[in-house]
């Protein structure tokens, strides 16, 4: 009996040791989930935001987003152009970390704005542009657990505890559920400095984009007012050149997408 037990233990060890040796760190999982959300080359997409309050649509915006990975810092720099509504059409927002500029073609004025200056209702500036979480945050813990995804299906996920590590980070703390098999982000909860839940996001409608299954929808639910909901849909993905020269204030008056 003792020999049998020893053999079983040995077998368990042999089967688990390789898993331990190849096990990814929480940060590796975060990096993998970033790679699912974001291509690693310059690209453009359309972000359509539809906002609901108490079940009724209250707002909508369409944005054209052009993003490029900053080779030095590893974070994305983005140029966002309003397509709709008409009153905001062709306004531009330049995102370079916390260096933000708003350009209005009607007044030709470029105004520097602070990260707290929200321009799109519930969505923060950081929600509408491409962000590599692993650049500004550190995942400190990964716990396997079952959770319900955005289609209310049960999924086995790593629940990551993520803390901000740079001043560019929008949130102090994030909890993110990442599918253990595919590294797809399933949902995330974002917390303020006070520990208060600011919003919950579900990543849904996975489609093959540039050869990888990526989320094409994020449903953002307000932490204080859960009936305040923003649906963000990503479409018209295109691999394109986004020159460095575009991503500065003095280019904004000249920006005209081809």
């Amino acid at each position: 009996m003792r020999t049998l037990l020893t053999l079983v233990l040995l077998l368990v060890c042999l089967t688990t040791v390789p898993r331990i040796s190849t096990a990814r760190t929480p940060q590796d999982i975060l990096v993998a989930s970033d790679a699912v959300r974001n291509p690693d080359f310059p690209f453009g997409l359309t972000n359509t935001l539809i906002e609901y309050r108490k079940g009724k649509q209250t707002d909508s915006s369409v944005l054209a987003v052009y993003s490029r990975l900053d080779q030095g810092g590893g974070q994305f720099r983005s140029l966002v152009r309003y397509v709709a509504p008409a009153r905001d059409a062709n306004k531009l927002i330049l995102f370079n970390g916390k260096d933000l500029w708003l350009f209005d073609p009607a007044s030709k004025a470029s105004v520097r704005i602070s990260p707290q200056q929200r321009l799109l209702g519930q969505a923060s500036n950081g929600d509408v542009v491409t962000v590599n979480f692993a650049r500004d945050y550190r995942a400190t813990e990964a716990v396997e657990e079952d959770t319900q995804d955005g289609n209310r299906q049960t999924r086995r996920c790593h629940k990551l505890n993520i803390a901000a590590t740079t001043t560019d980070a929008t949130y102090r703390r994030i909890e993110m559920w990442v599918d253990v098999v595919s590294a797809r982000p399933v949902k995330a909860r974002f917390y303020a400095d006070s520990g208060k839940l600011m919003k919950t996001a579900y990543y849904r409608r996975y489609q093959k984009i540039f050869g990888v299954e990526r989320p094409t929808e994020a449903v953002i639910i307000d932490g204080l007012e859960p009936d305040w909901v923003t649906v963000m849909r990503y479409s018209d993905w295109v691999k394109r050149d986004v020159p460095e020269a575009w991503l500065q204030r003095d280019y904004l008056p000249h920006f005209k997408p081809e």
């Binding site: 359509t48 539809i50 609901y52 309050r53 079940g55 209250t58 707002d59 909508s60 369409v62 054209a64 397509v83 709709a84 509504p85 008409a86 009153r87 059409a89 062709n90 370079n96 970390g97 916390k98 260096d99 209005d104 073609p105 009607a106 007044s107 030709k108 004025a109 470029s110 105004v111 520097r112 704005i113 602070s114 990260p115 707290q116 200056q117 209702g121 289609n151 209310r152 919950t200 579900y202 849904r204 929808e217 449903v219 639910i221 859960p226 009936d227 909901v229 649906v231 849909r233 020159p243 460095e244 020269a245 500065q248 204030r249 003095d250 280019y251 000249h254 005209k256 997408p257 081809e258």
Partner: protein, 425 residues
């Protein structure tokens, strides 16, 4: 005691479970909404057109009587690229007002921009035509906005953004070279006419092209978030000026900015009155500055406070002398200063507040206060703007307060109000 503890524990557990179930229900509802959200497709348009109508009135300072005002406007902006390397830009505005404006014209058309832009390679651009070049990071006073003089043909609102939007550009040739983190821009704007022409449908080349001017600006990023802009400007009728624009993020909610220009020049009083009265040889180095800070709260309220300084404007003694002197000289000085969009006195404070989604969604409330630190006069302007679909509804109120012939006390309107409806096509 044990029963009490058990009951308390049960209440806590029930409360937590109920809260979790509530949050779960709310998330289920949110996801259901997302499931029902239709697909929206909206292509970018090469044009933007709106029509605007306003009804208003003002109380005349002189006799206390009231005057009704009406206006209809059409604003068109087209930005078309027939080829990837070519861009054609056209922007025009027509205002039809009753009573007529200071020019005596009921209908005033402003050709704001009409130019072609060539982009032979990425990072190199050449533009030719009437272009509205606007420099400056400040809100209420822009010492480096060197091409602003005489650019406004029709004032429909005193809001800073309106004054910046509703103005005509200058005919020029402009070139720009961009590189990673920097750019160099140079423009030449020639003299095409001698003087402005206020006829309603005149292109008014004499307003913004009445002398040869050139401007060079250089921007360079020295560190992340630190990219000053340096400017060098010269015009036929004056000595060169230099300028600087600089911004800094103080924290996640606060941006500071400084805008400065300087150069050798006589006083504004000398410049304005030189054809009417003997002038002094008082050219000296004069600085102009706008120094400000903008703070945004979590409730979407942004407050901007600025200090304005114009070293060429009248100081207290000069201002007193002008106010107590012959009225035509005072009027000539005011007219010159207003056309140049300059400060009439040495120092001023400016406060601008914008509260987005104030109390109700889509309602923006703005407050602007101009305070003259030399004569203590003040202007207060408040606007409530409600967006609804393609409509904007705005209610504006303005109050000018001050002693006789002070900066704001001399405004012909003691109080003014207007209701504006704008519709985007």
């Amino acid at each position: 005691m044990r029963a009490l503890l058990t009951r308390f524990a049960c209440a806590v557990v029930t409360g937590v479970l109920t809260a979790n179930v509530g949050a779960q229900d709310a998330e289920d509802d949110a996801l259901r909404l997302a499931n029902e959200t239709p697909e929206v497709t909206q292509a970018a348009r090469a044009w933007r057109v709106f029509v605007e109508g306003s009804l208003g009135g003002h109380v005349r300072r002189l006799d206390g009587g009231t005057q009704d005002t009406r206006r209809a406007s059409l604003d068109v902006q087209v930005d078309h690229s027939p080829r990837p390397a070519l861009r054609l830009f056209f922007s025009d505005r027509l205002d039809v007002s009753s009573p007529a404006g200071p020019s005596g014209e009921h209908a005033v058309n402003t050709l704001k921009e009409a130019y072609a832009s060539l982009r032979p390679t990425t990072g190199v651009m050449a533009d030719l035509g009437r272009i509205n070049v606007r420099n400056g990071v400040a809100f209420g006073y822009n010492p480096t906005d060197f091409l602003r003089a005489d650019s406004t043909r029709s004032v429909v609102s005193i809001a800073p953004m309106s004054l910046k939007e509703n103005r005509q550009g200058s005919v020029m040739l402009r070139g720009q070279k961009l590189w990673d983190g920097g750019s160099l821009t140079a423009l030449y704007s020639p003299a095409l006419r001698d003087a402005p022409d206020q006829e309603g449908f005149n292109l008014d080349l004499g307003a913004t092209n009445n002398q040869d001017r050139w401007l060079v600006s250089l921007s360079q990023t020295f560190a992340k978030g630190f990219a000053p802009q340096f400017l060098l400007y010269d015009e036929e009728a004056a000595t060169p000026k230099v300028g600087l624009n600089l911004t800094a993020l103080l924290n996640d909610a606060t941006v500071a900015h400084i805008e400065w220009s300087g150069g050798r020049a006589p006083t504004q009083r000398t410049e304005a009155l030189q054809t009417l009265t003997p002038v002094c040889e008082c050219a000296a180095w004069r600085n102009r500055t706008a120094l400000g800070v903008t703070h945004t709260t979590t409730t979407k309220l942004s407050l901007t406070l600025e200090y304005h300084y114009n070293g060429a404007a009248a100081d207290e003694s000069e201002w007193d002398a002008l106010r107590q002197g012959p009225l035509p000289l005072y009027g000539a000085y005011r007219d010159r200063v207003q056309r140049a969009q300059e400060l009439p006195t040495r120092q001023a404070l400016f406060l601008f507040g914008l509260w987005q989604d104030a109390l109700v969604q889509h309602l923006d409330v703005s407050l602007m206060i101009n305070h003259d630190l030399v004569d203590d006069s003040r202007r207060v302007w408040i606007e409530a703007l409600y967006h609804h679909g393609q409509f904007d509804f705005a209610l504006q109120w303005q109050h000018n307060r001050g002693h006789a012939l002070s900066n704001y006390g001399a405004m012909p309107e003691a109080r003014a109000w207007q209701f504006v409806v704008r519709y985007y096509l």
